[in-house]
């Protein structure tokens, strides 16, 4: 007896890792040029693509570059010449290509790249964390974040639709947690090529974007100065703003063709009657949802606001969802310096006056492979509930490092 995995008419169920999901999505998008350089925990992506290419399943120029800086430079140029491109990296690779990452955004090249989140805090680490994303947050790229392997695949496909949209033309980086998603094998619904072609076909009906071609009498990479430079920067800022609504629209189109919607810039989970909300992103959200369901059984009115678009910062969408909530706990998988709290917490705090009295606290967790366990999430929810009930609560809590909770006065003389 043959047990087929449940199949829909236009897709196939596979049990694959987040990395394999990214590679398959890249393959389905039919890129012209792919640059491949390995770095833990992304390596399987480029290995899969190499295999597809070696078996004639992917008709692209595959460049096995000697380092990440070359990877971004190669795909940036190929993109400006008119090609659809793909590459992937992580942490140290992302910062090694940083000059080219900036140039790509400045040139408005519609590059799509996967970044598998891993620590780059200045300590050599091969472990999960979002510091690499935080280190490059204002590079001018659109940043999207996936919660599970299915969303990895879906976001990579949506990234092409977004980056190459004539009204946008901004490079897009799809982030997902290294180790927790990159190596996680889950059930993923993989669309057939025809469906993906249909989803991306609308891009062909647009006006043609500017390309660098022989005899075209157009150049890229000229010097910008004064008003001319300001014009380009303002256009970039505006395009980023437009990408918010565009991402919502793409989410709806995706639902129509593939049957899956995630809510656009943010996903609100059990938020309607919630008093207390956790704000998070990435793989932690799966765990948080499980704990929320358990807490709801106990009568705690808690919800999750999952941030899917990180840049541009979805301020309006977050305010709309969070307004009037009694207390908000923001979970950061990274650090920033000089503020009392993590990076996403401080960014949300910029909107505090629009939240109509919501109180906020910051949780630092999940750094360098420390696991955001169900117990940790329970602590975060209980603490935020305490805040809602008017108790005095620390503004920032390092969930897995109690030493951080010593007050500064007690820590005089330490490094």
């Amino acid at each position: 007896m043959n047990t087929k995995i449940n199949a829909k008419a236009n897709s196939q169920i596979k049990v694959i890792t987040g990395n394999a999901a990214a590679a398959i999505a890249a393959k389905l998008a039919r890129p012209d040029v792919v640059a491949a350089y390995p770095i833990t925990p992304q390596t399987e992506i480029i290995e899969q693509i190499s295999k597809f290419h070696a078996n004639g399943e992917m008709d692209c120029e595959l460049i096995t570059v000697e380092g990440e800086n070359s990877a971004m430079n190669a795909v940036m140029a190929a993109s400006l010449a008119g090609g659809r491109v793909f590459t992937a990296t992580s942490s140290w690779g992302l910062v090694f290509m940083y000059d080219a990452v900036l140039a790509t955004a400045g040139a408005r090249a519609p590059v799509v790249m996967v970044n598998v989140n891993r620590e780059t805090p200045g300590i050599i680490a091969v472990s999960s964390g979002q510091q690499d994303m935080i280190s490059t947050r204002d590079s001018g790229w659109i940043f999207l974040i996936a919660e599970n392997c299915q969303e990895v695949l879906d976001l990579v496909l949506q990234a092409y639709r977004l980056a190459e949209d004539y009204d946008i033309q901004v490079p897009v980086m799809v982030h997902y947690d290294g180790f927790y998603l990159s190596y996680l094998s889950e059930v993923v619904d993989v669309p057939f090529q025809e469906e993906v072609d249909r989803f991306l076909a609308v891009l062909k009906d647009q006006p043609e974007r500017t390309k660098l071609v022989p005899g075209g009498k157009l150049g890229c990479g000229s010097h910008g100065i004064l008003g001319g430079y300001l014009e380009l920067r303002h256009k970039h800022v505006s395009a980023m703003e437009r990408s918010k609504a565009k991402f919502e629209q793409i989410d709806k189109e995706y639902q129509e063709i593939f049957g899956r919607s995630y809510g656009g810039q943010v996903e609100a989970y059990r938020m309607d009657d919630a008093d207390v909300v956790l704000v998070g992103s990435g793989s932690m959200c799966g765990t948080i949802k499980t704990v929320i369901d358990a807490k709801r059984e106990e009568g705690v009115k808690v919800g999750l606001l999952k941030m899917r678009m990180y840049r541009p910062f979805p301020g309006e969408a977050m305010v709309k969802a969070l307004k009037g909530k009694k207390a908000i706990g923001v979970v950061d998988r990274s650090l920033c310096f000089g503020f009392k709290g993590g990076p996403i917490y401080t960014e949300l705090k910029a909107f505090e006056t629009q939240l109509e009295g919501s109180k906020m606290v910051s949780f630092i967790d999940g750094i360098a492979n420390t696991d955001i366990t169900t117990a940790n999430v329970e602590t975060m929810i209980d603490t935020t509930c305490g805040l809602a009930a008017g108790k005095e609560v620390r503004e920032v809590t390092w969930i897995c490092y109690p030493e951080a909770q010593e007050s500064d006065a007690e820590k005089m003389g330490g490094r």
Binding site: A36, P38, I39, T40, T43, E44, I46, E47, S50, K51, H53, A54, N55, G56, T64, E66, G67, E68, W92, F96, I124, V126
Partner: protein
């Protein structure tokens, strides 16, 4: 030069004047060429070398974890992208401060030939006073066996896999050691693990040359997991690499090349590849391309070493 086997072994042991500073039971695969090399170096050069290492197959052992380490050498854990520049900084400061030192910048071929080549070349061009040792396992092994610039023609790796539309790597390897010799540095040499006496001598020559500037050693260090051969065959793989001229042994003083071992009747490269699974998919015609590349490189090497008599180092450059 040839002695009885027992005599040869004794000679090698004579070079191991110092303790092995590495602990037992460390995270190397059984049969790892790199492990043999990294334990060998401080036993020849001393436990007071300052060694730099990068993310690579050596990293889980060479770089510590939090506040613990698997060896007692002073070390600097850094990134591939600037390893030679870090080593430069160390060596230059020690020189300024009059601190006697041997800085060993220890990297795989991924770093040396690819992502870190720019700063390696820069350090050599400036004739920086340290020893750069490249252990060549012909690929990015720690991330799971991807190709590098030194991966030979035809090899199947995870970025050049053998498939229905591919016969493995379709680019010839580049000759890293020759490139480094062209920097005219005080000492360049190739070595491998089947000729440990030769390796020891070259390590000592590099240490001495470091007093005058940059020394570069290129050591073929096979990888049992990545290449696909039984762990007990590591030494035999090296031996055949030398006997087929796949990996000739030579040295260069100020860029003047001298063969340190001449293989009188080189065997066909197929006697080397037959031991190694990453070549198993190649047919005769494919192997001929690899053979041609090996012969071509050897011819270039031969040509350069023959010119030795005609290339006199200008008096003004002699030290």
């Amino acid at each position: 030069m040839t002695g009885k086997k027992k005599g040869k072994l004794t000679k090698v042991l004579d070079y191991l004047k110092y303790e092995d500073p590495f602990s037992k039971g460390v995270a190397f695969c059984p049969g790892c060429g790199l492990e043999l090399l990294v334990r060998f170096i401080p036993q020849v050069l001393g436990n007071d070398i300052v060694i730099t290492g990068t993310p690579s197959c050596s990293a889980p052992v060479l770089l510590g974890q939090n506040n613990q380490s698997w060896h007692t050498l002073s070390y600097f854990g850094t990134l591939m992208t600037g390893a030679a520049a870090n080593a430069t900084g160390l060596a230059r400061y020690y020189r300024k401060a009059g601190i006697k030192n041997t800085v060993v910048c220890f990297n795989g071929d991924g770093t040396a030939a690819d992502i870190g080549f720019g700063n390696l070349s820069g350090a050599a061009e400036r004739n920086e006073p340290f020893i750069y040792i490249c252990y060549d396992n012909e690929g990015y092994m720690n991330t799971g066996i991807q190709k590098s610039g030194t991966t030979p023609y035809g090899a199947s790796t995870t970025t050049t896999p053998f498939g229905s539309a591919s016969k493995g790597k379709n680019l010839r390897r580049m000759n890293l050691a020759l490139k480094m010799a062209m920097h005219k540095i005080p000492y360049t040499a190739t070595a491998t693990l089947s000729d440990l006496g030769d390796l020891a001598k070259k390590l000592l020559k590099a240490k001495e040359a470091k007093e005058r500037g940059f020394a570069f050693l290129h050591v073929l260090a096979p990888c049992t997991t990545g290449w696909g051969y039984a762990p007990e065959n590591t030494i035999e793989v090296c031996r055949r690499a030398v006997k087929t001229n796949y990996f000739p042994l030579w040295e260069a003083i100020n860029g003047k090349i001298r063969m340190t071992k001449i293989v009188k009747k080189p065997k066909p490269v197929s006697t080397y590849t037959e031991l190694i699974k990453k070549f198993a998919h190649l047919n005769e015609a494919d192997l001929q391309i690899l053979q041609d590349d090996v012969d071509y490189e050897y011819c270039m090497l031969g040509g350069l070493s023959v010119l030795e008599a005609e290339c006199q180092l200008p008096a003004s450059l002699e030290d």
